[in-house]
Symmetry: C2
Subunit: 281 residues, 2 copies
């Protein structure tokens, strides 16, 4: 039995421009993302909802539609929950699944490759566009905003990859925190030889004078999987990810320098700090 | 697999005078009460916590102590959870257990006895004392306040009773709602021939000019079990409850008048409305 709970709170998790329907779907996506990264097929979910007193019937219907979207999208059944009154919209999603094996954070071994299931930087760019009016082309603005409003963990890819991964976690707190957590839990170090970033995010960072490293490493809300695997498994794993509609990107290698995460570019090594999303900081 | 989630919100579920430690314990008690009424032994629980930004380290430690109290008291393990920021203190407790059989609301049959595992009215009296300064003797005040601040579902009694009950639920929304839910789900009627109330609650109602019926039927937060069973099981069930440190009180009988709940006193029959605790009303 695998069970996981994740609480979405309006104030911190629902950016401007996100509808109640999208917020409800996101609450479920947050859990799906964790199941995907652990290679566990979710079976069903429950939701505890705290509603502000002035909520309308329309908003409650929006929430229901969002749960239905999620249910259809990831094949999980909504089997129960609780409703009550709260100052803020609060949705606690509880997800349940069954598994013979789970991929932990602690299995990374020196020599393993470090991989991700996609490129980083879109959600933090989208948040800056939605919340702070950062400048972006129409095309990039739409892509970045969609990554915030409709986070889409690739569950199928996660399930397909599980058997190849020596360690993994989802990157919802950001890439840097993710790499540090895996390094700490596995008692290893990680050396990145490439930031998983595409030219459009680089251009967005340049245009808005933002630190590209901060955008890619410290963003959060990414919902991609970060993991490690033996080098000889990479080709098969990569094919499995593609078959599941995803991709697998090689970004670095595990080494023996306990707890250290570094970025090596042009022969220069730079320490990667544990930056990213932490609550109540 | 039995799984249940119940959300405690500061504003609606934490009365004045309740400490964070008691609030944390109560969040778990709310789930334990439901498991007790269904005859399912809980195995473990998770908590999702939303904390106001100005929470202190002391308050967080208080919460941890409350979860530990609950864990020790009912023999359930805390196995995980989530923390984040919210306007209000929010604790969503998720409880997990395993069962071959669950007692539903829908099994009541005409002729069955209606029973409860205790006397009603203490928590609503306690709330009036804590929140509104209602008048009470020192002894009654202490007893009623304790029933609010330290709700104590009798899990052992619930587990012992399960095999005798044809239907049951916990009375956390109040006795009247409970009886209506069982009547509706079972397609039967219920006739009460006695209110489950003791002289001290009667006296409190008199002193404060409160409706005794409203106090006993519409109170909420009671955490007792209301159920039905065949008359010939009553003696054995009653003994099982006593062995588990509880009691079983006979308050009425199931009949064929679909969906109707009535109180018959001194030969007069009076309809019992669906009064009690509903959120957002």
């Amino acid at each position: 039995l695998v069970i996981k709970t994740d609480m979405l709170v309006d104030k911190t998790d629902v950016p401007r421009g996100m509808t109640y329907r999208q917020a409800a779907r996101k609450a479920v996506a947050m859990c799906v993302s964790d199941f995907a990264s652990k290679g566990v097929k979710p079976d069903s979910f429950l939701v505890s909802i705290g509603l502000p007193r002035d909520s309308t019937g329309g908003q409650v219907r929006e929430l229901a539609l969002g749960f239905k979207d999620a249910s259809n999208e990831w094949g999980v059944k909504l089997v129960g929950g609780d409703t009550g009154e709260a100052d803020d919209l609060v949705i606690d999603c509880v997800m349940v699944g069954f598994a013979k094996r789970v991929v932990w954070r602690s299995g990374a071994k020196p020599g393993d490759l470090v991989v991700t299931t996609g490129y980083f930087g879109y959600p933090p760019s989208g948040l800056r566009i939605l919340m702070e009016g950062a400048k972006a082309t129409e095309l990039f603005g739409a892509k970045a905003a969609a990554s915030v409003l409709r986070p889409s963990p690739n569950l199928a890819a996660g399930l397909a990859l599980a058997k190849y991964l020596s360690s993994s976690m989802d990157s919802s707190d950001g890439l840097a925190i993710c790499l540090h957590d895996i390094a700490d839990a596995s008692g290893v170090g990680i050396s990145l030889d490439a930031l998983p970033v595409k030219e459009d995010v680089r251009a967005f960072a340049r245009t808005n004078s933002l630190s590209l490293e901060r955008l890619v490493l410290g963003g959060g809300e990414e919902y991609l999987i970060v993991g490690t695997l033996e080098e000889e498994s990479f080709r098969k794993a990569s094919r499995a990810a593609r078959v599941a509609g995803g991709e697998l990107i090689r970004i670095g290698r595990v080494n023996g320098k306990k707890g250290r995460v570094e970025l090596v570019e042009n022969g220069r090594s730079e320490q990667v700090d544990r930056i990213g999303w932490t609550h109540l900081s």
